[in-house]
C-alpha cells in the first residue's frame, strides 16, 4: 500500500521524525494565510512529480490559491491530483538520502544513505550509497546511525539528530510493517536542522489486518484493476489486446510470455487462483470483456481447479454474457478429458498442449486483424 506524501509525514510525526509545518487541502480555498513562503506539492502515488510540474512555490495566499487550483486540475502520469500539500518553505543547505527497505536475498531490512539527496537513488553511483543491514532478530541498533552519520560527514548536533531520525524510521518500519520508508531529500537546513522534505512509505498490504489506521489508497490502480480488486480477482491491466485467463501466477505469466514470443500482446494478467468454482471462472469473463480485447485465451493446468469446472464456467459465461469474441482454450491436468468433452459439446475446441494453443491464438489474431484492416 503506497502512502501519499502527507500520509507518510503524519506517520513521521508520530515517530518523532521532523517534517516541515504544513497541511493538506482538497480544494483551493482551503489554503490558509499562515505559512508563507510556502511550497505547494501535488499529492500523487507515482514518482517523477517534480519534473511533471507538480511542485510550486507561493509567497501569498492569493498566489497559493491560484497554484492550488492549477495543481488540483492536473493529471500526473495518469493519476488525477486529489490533494495538495501546503508546506512552509525550508532553507536548504544540503540534501541527503535515507531509506529502509527489505533486502530479499539477505532476508533483512537494508538501510541506505547517501550524500546525493534530491535525485532518484537509482541514478546515484553505487560508491556513493552507503548500506547497513538490520538483523531482524534483535532489530535496529543505534550503532548503525553512528556508522552512517560518519559516512555522510555528519558531526555534532546534526549527527545526533540523524541518530534520532533513523531510530524513528526504524521503529516506523517495524511497527507499521513497512516495505519502504524513504526520505529523499533529507534536508539539512541553513538553521542546522535535519528535516524530512519528502516521504515515501509503502506498507505491506498483507499486514493491513493489524494496521486499521493505515488508509487504503487505490489511486495507483487503473479503473479496471480497482473493479477487479472489488471482485477479488488477481488482475493486472496491460496494454495489448488479447484477453488472458489462466490459473496460478507462474502459469499466467508464462502464458503472457508465450504470446509475446509470437509477437502477440496480452491485454491483462488474470489468475483464477486455487479454488475449484464454476462461478469464479464464469465471472472472469465480464471482467475481461470490460477490457475490450480482440480475443480471449484461456490456459489451464488443472489441479485444485479442475478442467471440467473451467469448461462449465466457460460454457455458462458464453451463454449468460453472450461473449462474441473468439475464445481459444487449452486444458490439461485433472479431469482434462471431461473438460474437453464439455467444451466440444458446446462447439468449443480445446487444445491439449500449450504451444499448439498459442499457435492457434496467433492464427486467429492474424485473421481478425486482417479482417479489421
Amino acid at each position: 500500500m503506497n502512502l501519499y506524501e502527507f500520509q507518510g509525514k503524519e506517520l513521521f510525526r508520530k515517530f518523532g521524525i521532523p517534517v516541515p509545518d504544513g497541511y493538506v487541502i482538497k480544494a483551493p480555498e482551503e489554503v490558509r494565510d499562515d505559512i508563507f513562503p510556502a511550497a505547494l506539492k501535488a499529492q500523487v502515488l507515482v514518482g517523477g512529480r517534480g519534473k511533471a510540474g507538480g511542485i510550486k512555490f507561493a509567497n501569498s495566499r492569493e498566489e497559493a490559491i491560484n497554484m492550488a487550483r492549477d495543481l488540483l486540475s492536473q493529471t500526473i502520469k495518469g493519476s488525477k491530483v486529489k490533494y495538495v500539500l501546503v508546506e512552509r518553505k525550508i532553507n536548504i543547505d544540503k540534501e541527503l538520502y535515507i531509506s529502509i527497505t527489505i533486502d530479499r536475498s539477505k532476508r533483512r531490512p537494508l538501510v541506505m544513505a547517501s550524500t546525493e539527496g534530491g535525485v532518484e537513488i537509482e541514478s546515484v553511483e553505487e560508491s556513493k550509497i552507503h548500506m547497513k543491514w538490520i538483523d531482524p532478530m534483535h532489530g535496529y541498533s543505534p550503532y548503525i546511525a553512528k556508522i552512517l552519520a560518519k559516512k555522510l560527514n555528519l558531526t555534532g548536533d546534526i549527527a545526533k539528530q540523524f541518530s534520532e531520525l533513523l531510530s524513528g524510521m526504524s521503529r516506523l518500519f517495524e511497527e507499521y510493517d513497512a516495505e519502504l520508508v524513504e526520505i529523499n531529500p533529507l534536508v539539512i537546513t541553513k538553521e542546522g536542522k535535519l528535516i524530512a522534505a519528502d516521504s515515501k512509505v509503502i506498507i505491506d498490504t498483507d499486514s493491513l489486518f493489524r494496521h486499521r489506521d493505515v488508509p487504503v489508497n487505490l489511486d495507483d490502480l487503473t479503473e479496471l484493476e480497482r473493479y477487479a480488486k472489488e471482485k477479488d480477482y488477481s488482475f493486472v491491466e496491460l496494454d495489448g489486446d488479447i484477453g488472458v485467463i489462466a490459473n496460478g501466477a507462474g502459469l499466467t505469466m508464462a502464458t503472457l510470455d508465450s504470446l509475446l514470443l509470437h509477437g502477440l500482446k496480452p491485454r491483462n494478467f488474470l489468475d483464477l487462483g486455487g479454488t475449484d468454482s464454476v462461478d469464479i471462472v464464469k465471472n472472469a469473463f465480464p471482467l475481461i470483456m470490460k477490457a475490450n480485447p480482440k480475443m480471449i485465451f484461456v490456459n489451464i493446468f488443472g489441479g485444485v481447479t479442475k478442467c471440467d469446472t473451467v469448461a462449465n464456467g466457460i460454457v455458462l459465461a458464453k451463454k449468460e454474457f453472450g461473449i462474441d469474441k473468439p475464445i481459444v482454450v487449452r486444458l490439461n491436468g485433472v479431469h482434462e478429458e471431461e473438460g474437453r468433452q464439455i467444451l466440444k459439446e458446446n462447439g468449443i475446441e480445446a487444445f491439449a498442449n500449450m504451444p499448439e494453443a498459442v499457435k492457434k491464438v496467433a492464427e486467429i489474431y492474424s485473421r481478425i486483424s486482417k479482417g479489421v484492416s
Binding site: 531482524p136 493486472v236 505469466m253
Partner: protein, 289 residues
C-alpha cells in the same frame, strides 16, 4: 534425500480446515506418514483417520519431525513458533498473504536454529523416490526418476513436472520455494542440498521475475554445481512496478527482470526454455551429453 524422507513424521496445523483436511488425505495416499493434526478445541476427533489434538505439545509423544501449516495468515506466526519452539525442524507454510515482516522474522529465526522453512505461499515438497510429500502438489503427475525441480511457482511447476513425466523421464525431488518476497529457501539453498545427493542427476529451475535469487543461483552453479541444469523464467512480458499475482513477482527499481535472470543463467551454462513445454527437450539434450 532432501529435507524429508519416507520416515519423516508429519503433523498438520489446521487439519480441520478445507485445505488441511483435503491435502492431509492426499499426503496419506501418496505415502506420507501424517501422524497428527492440530485444531484447537477438536482434540479427540479424527480427520481421514488422523488423530486430532488441541496443540503441538500434545503430539510430541508421536515424535513429529515436520509440519504443514495451513491456518489463516494472521495466525501463521503463532502456529510457526508453536512448531519451532516444540522442536519441529521442517516447517512448510501453505498459507498465502503472510505479512512479509512475519516471514522475515520466522525465516531468520529458523535458520539460526537449523530449521528448514518451506514457503510461505508455495506448493510444498515432494520427494518422489522416497514416496513422501508435504504440501499440495497433485499426486498423479509424478514418476520416480532423476530430475529435481526447484520452483517459485505452483501450477507452472505441475505443468513442467507433468511434461517431464510425459516425456518418459521422472523426478527425484520437486520443491516449491513459495511466491512471496521472503521465503525460507532460495534456489541456492536447495542446490547445495542436491550437489551430493545421489538420486538427482539433473535440475530444473523454475524462476520468475523479482528479486535476485536466480542470479545468485547462477553464480553458484558456475562455481560449484556440476550437475546439468536447465531453467524456465516466467515474466518476460511483465511491466515494471506491477505485482504479477505473487507478492514476490515484481520488477522494482529496474531489478529482477527476466532478461537479467536469463542472461545470468545462460552465462552459467544453464539452458533457459522459451516455453515451459520445452523443458523435457532441453533436459534430454543435456543428459545425452
Amino acid at each position: 534425500m532432501v529435507y524429508i524422507n519416507k520416515e519423516t513424521r508429519v503433523i498438520v496445523q489446521g487439519i480441520t480446515g478445507h485445505q488441511g483436511s483435503f491435502h492431509s488425505n492426499e499426503m496419506l495416499k501418496f505415502g506420507t506418514k501424517v501422524v497428527a493434526g492440530i485444531s484447537p478445541g477438536k482434540a479427540g476427533t479424527k480427520v481421514n483417520g488422523i488423530p486430532v489434538f488441541d496443540n503441538v505439545e500434545e503430539t510430541l509423544h508421536l515424535e513429529p519431525d515436520a509440519t504443514m501449516i495451513s491456518v489463516p495468515a494472521p495466525y501463521v506466526k503463532d502456529a510457526f513458533y508453536e512448531a519451532l519452539d516444540h522442536g519441529i525442524r521442517v516447517i512448510y507454510i501453505l498459507t498465502e498473504h503472510v505479512p512479509v515482516h512475519d516471514s522475515m522474522e520466522m525465516v531468520n529465526d529458523a535458520r539460526l536454529k537449523n530449521a528448514v522453512v518451506i514457503g510461505p505461499n508455495g506448493p510444498g515438497i515432494t520427494v518422489v523416490h522416497e514416496g513422501t510429500k508435504i504440501g499440495i502438489m497433485p499426486n498423479h503427475i509424478f514418476r520416480k526418476g532423476n530430475v529435481a525441480v526447484i520452483s517459485r511457482s505452483g501450477t507452472l511447476t505441475y505443468e513442467i513436472v507433468k511434461s517431464i513425466t510425459d516425456a518418459g523421464m521422472g523426478e527425484s525431488t520437486v520443491i516449491g520455494l513459495g511466491g512471496d518476497a521472503i521465503v525460507g529457501l532460495s534456489f541456492m539453498d536447495v542446490l547445495k542440498e542436491l550437489r551430493k545427493e545421489r538420486q538427482t542427476r539433473a535440475v530444473v529451475l523454475v524462476g520468475e521475475i523479482g528479486g535476485t535469487a536466480e542470479e545468485e543461483a547462477a553464480e553458484y552453479i558456475k562455481s560449484e554445481f556440476k550437475k546439468p541444469v536447465v531453467a524456465y523464467i516466467a515474466g518476460r512480458s511483465a511491466p515494471p512496478g506491477k505485482r504479477m499475482g505473487h507478492a514476490g513477482a515484481i520488477i522494482t527499481r529496474g531489478k529482477g527482470t527476466a532478461e537479467s535472470k536469463i542472461k545470468a543463467l545462460n552465462s552459467a551454462g544453464v539452458d533457459v526454455a522459451d516455453y515451459p513445454q520445452d523443458i523435457p527437450v532441453l533436459l534430454q539434450k543435456k543428459l545425452k551429453k
